[in-house]
Symmetry: C2
Subunit: 242 residues, 2 copies
Amino acid sequence: MDTIKDAHTHHISQQFNEELEGVKKSMLEMGGLVEKQVRDAIRSLINADVQLAELVRERDDLVNNMEITIDKECTQILAKRQPAASDLRLVLAVSKCISDLERIGDEASKIARLAIELSGQGDSQQGFVEIRHIGDEVSSMIQQSLTAFARLDVDSALKVAHEDRTVDMEYRSTVRELITYMMEDPRSISRVLNIIWALRALERVGDHAMNIGEYVIYLAKGLDVRHMDVEQVEDRLESVEK
Amino acid sequence: MDTIKDAHTHHISQQFNEELEGVKKSMLEMGGLVEKQVRDAIRSLINADVQLAELVRERDDLVNNMEITIDKECTQILAKRQPAASDLRLVLAVSKCISDLERIGDEASKIARLAIELSGQGDSQQGFVEIRHIGDEVSSMIQQSLTAFARLDVDSALKVAHEDRTVDMEYRSTVRELITYMMEDPRSISRVLNIIWALRALERVGDHAMNIGEYVIYLAKGLDVRHMDVEQVEDRLESVEK
């Protein structure tokens, strides 16, 4: 009897592990898709590629569906498996993560909508260099935060938080410049505002990538570091290590 | 022995109920605070009341701490009580709700920051009527969605979704007007942009109130209606009722 029971326990536990790995893997896949969405949205804006922009907007449904599906899987694991400790943390972190990923998808879709508007507003490239630059930064922040999640890598998660601060500064200084430009050429206002909206969307993408980094710290260390400065987080982590 | 066991079970179950009621109550309290934050932020902007704006910004820490505390309580319930069915849905809905409430708090804090900037940018009241109007609408949407949550009232939750659509339309048409105004008076650009940011923050508040309405439907009907149009939601609910 014991052998059968062990085999059974083992089977359950292995299936449970597979379920946990499953939601984590799906979440990382969703992350890969939204990163692509952000990169494609930026490309569609810079190249005035309306077709690509429309593709990005269509694919947002896919992102939304992934959120619903993964969230359902998480709820089922909670109901059926009643996970504890680090397993519970993983399920909760995945559930929070997909919410940020979905919002990144929304921002990509917004940028694609702006790309379509901008394609009808003349050939000026004002602000494109900054969009490409900040866009590259936040896209790589998404990737880094997901890799950090996959590897439970706290240092990478902290790096994302530092990068988010750089992005915020660059965003603010670019907007200041664009406002000056609008004042000098009021006919450009509608167009430049669309550029500002796109930059703001990218800045928000950076915030969401940073949030994912925070869940990595929660997952690896059991510390909830939301709403802390990155220095405070580093202090807290140091005092935990001691 | 049975009596003791029953008493014990009853005790556990009553304590469990209290814990569930506890997180729900805390969430509603947090909701009351963020609604106040939004109303105060609008008031500080319209009256150029820098002191009130600073108070709103300080109180955002309180909102953030409530999110952390309630989320921790939710996690503890999941770990200790391993809730199922509607209890599990309640804990998960509370956990999602407080994340939207915290973001509403962020938007209020942003409006308060803009109020401080605007107080140094002259006496023009351009856009104030619209801020007050949309501000009143989204504040009452927060209240309605929370009352709907407390009462599991699906009809009220749907009403919030309808109102969000009105707010979105009003927001877009106001921004269009303000852009025209900026073009006519380029010296007003910095100031009017701050008004536009404040309106956008309010529009986001409306989105979050709508999200809370969606969790009410999840809680009451077990249906995940995120990313659906309000008409789709109504259709789904009708087919469930049948």
